[in-house]
């Protein structure tokens, strides 16, 4: 066998790929999605809370948010997952009787995502012009309703692309829960690929896992770009007559 065909066999052995696909489809993909969605939900809820704390008028509340954010953004994800997953494992087992580190993996990912998402929301909310709050208050809305109905919706709109990027990062980072030693049916795409690869001394199962990730992340990346473009052009609800005509050249501006 020459070098080229050896390489092709190492990465694209269709036999191995075919063997690993059913497992990936039956629960690997689902586990990756569950990990990403569940931790993303925790991260969003906590992130909104952190953002609110981050713009609080009480300094102590701001500091708490600041310290949390600095710590959870400042350490590697894999370290956080190990510390939380292994550290709280015995306690969770005592309380619930479950040995599975899977929920703790979700919590660890969620806590980490919250730090990033909180910063995304906070910067979005703070980027809204001060005049918006002032105008809303001048109409007679209180501070809370003004923030809720006028400022926050505009802030969140602006950071939708960044939020989507964070979710893409979570899909990829969900692979790190493998460090906790999951049960067979709890394994996600990466771990399944990794196990097959190790057992067969061939990287093709990992390539299969990579394809699964790409099928999820590439469309999301392009969706982000699309949203970004739409938001920055600030599309009108109803185009002006001459604007609507412009694409076909009728009555368009010269």
């Amino acid at each position: 066998m020459d070098a080229w065909s050896r390489l092709a066999d190492t990465f694209l052995n269709w036999g191995y790929i075919g063997e690993v696909l059913p497992t990936m489809f039956s629960y690997g993909l689902l586990n990756t999605i569950v990990l990403a969605l569940a931790s993303g939900t925790i991260g969003t809820v906590l992130g909104v809370l952190l953002a609110m704390m981050g713009i609080s008028r009480t300094p102590v509340v701001r500091w708490i948010a600041r310290i949390y954010t600095d710590i959870f953004r400042g350490v590697p994800a894999v370290l956080l997952i190990l510390v939380i997953g292994l550290g709280f494992g015995p306690l969770v087992k005592e309380l619930t009787g479950t040995r599975s580190p899977y929920p703790l993996g979700i919590v660890a990912l969620g806590l980490m995502a919250a730090a990033y998402i909180g910063e995304i929301f906070r910067s979005g909310i703070q980027s809204v012009d001060k005049g918006q709050l002032e105008a809303s208050r001048a109409l007679g809305f209180g501070y809370g309703p003004s923030m809720r109905m006028i400022v926050v919706p505009q802030g969140i709109r602006r950071v939708l692309p960044a939020l989507m990027n964070q979710f893409i990062a979570l899909i990829k980072d969900s692979s790190l829960v493998f460090t906790l030693g999951l049960m067979s049916h709890e394994r996600e795409l990466f771990q399944i690929g990794q196990d097959f690869a190790a057992n067969n001394g061939n990287q093709s199962p990992l390539v299969a896992a990579a394809l699964f990730y790409l099928v999820m992340t590439i469309p999301l990346t392009h969706l982000v770009n699309y949203i970004d473009k739409r938001l920055s052009t600030g599309k009108a609800l109803k185009p002006e007559p001459d604007e609507a005509a412009a694409p076909i050249g009728k009555g368009a501006h010269s």
Partner: protein, 245 residues
């Protein structure tokens, strides 16, 4: 335009400081019901701050504010602001809502009008400023002058007793200033009580009933336009007028 049910507005000995920076140092101001007062003065003199203190966007450190002769400092500030409309230099329309919704929003949420009624009242207000046909579009598609007229409609829809204008024409291109000033002139003629912070000396002189000259956080001169513009008493007003006219 209709006649307005407006009230008189009085500020008594208003003080405000940000740390060591004393922005207002004892302002006394009385605007008679149905009249327009214009507030002029160099930038940094506290004019815009005075408006924000009188509708309690910023709480004064000291002094009193009376609407129709009654002190409003003990009232809920949100309810006070519903009685005082405000128009800003930068328009501050809500960019994520349509033009009509910019006007209808507060009618639904604050005046608790049903959806259809809020919308038809919003259209009515927009009609008065000549922009009914723009109700469905986003504010960003309008010119600055149109946006400011929408902002005026938004404030008027709340049926305020007093209107504040904070340099409402300063951010407009010169050719758009006229339309907004004409609208403000109509309002004044229809009996709206108005406090107008402005650099438009023409408006101040020809439309307002009273001119207030502020400098350094105090009212330096206060009186009829004829008196202030033709016979300024202080060096500070003389210098200001010679700078701007």
């Amino acid at each position: 335009m209709s006649h307005f049910e407006s009230g008189s507005l009085t500020g008594k000995d208003l003080h405000l400081a940000f740390g060591h920076n004393k922005v207002l140092r004892g302002i006394d101001l009385h605007v008679e019901k149905g009249t327009a007062a214009s507030v002029i003065g160099p930038s940094g003199s506290g004019k815009s701050t005075l408006l924000r203190v009188m509708n309690r966007l910023i709480e004064p450190d000291q002094g009193d504010i009376l609407l129709d002769g009654r002190s409003v400092l003990k009232d809920n500030p949100d309810e006070l602001r519903r009685r005082i409309g405000m128009v800003f230099q930068q328009f501050n329309l809500f960019p994520h809502k349509s033009v009509g919704e910019n006007v209808a929003f507060a009618l639904r949420k604050l005046r608790k009008l049903p959806k259809e009624q809020a919308w038809s009242e919003a259209l009515e207000q927009l009609d008065k400023v000549g922009l009914k046909h723009k109700a469905e579009v986003r504010p960003s598609t309008l010119s600055g002058g149109q946006q400011q007229r929408v902002a005026i409609a938004r404030a008027l829809a709340m049926q305020p007793e007093v209107m504040f204008f904070d340099e409402a024409t300063s951010a407009l291109d010169p050719e758009l200033v006229k339309g907004v000033l004409a609208l403000m002139t109509d309002l004044a003629k229809d009996g709206m009580t108005m406090v107008v912070v402005t650099h438009e000396m023409g408006f101040s002189r020809n439309v307002s009933n009273q001119v207030v000259f502020m400098d350094g956080g105090v009212v330096v001169e206060n009186g009829s336009p004829e008196k202030l513009f033709t016979d300024p008493q202080t060096d500070r007003l003389k210098k200001f007028l010679s700078d701007v006219l």
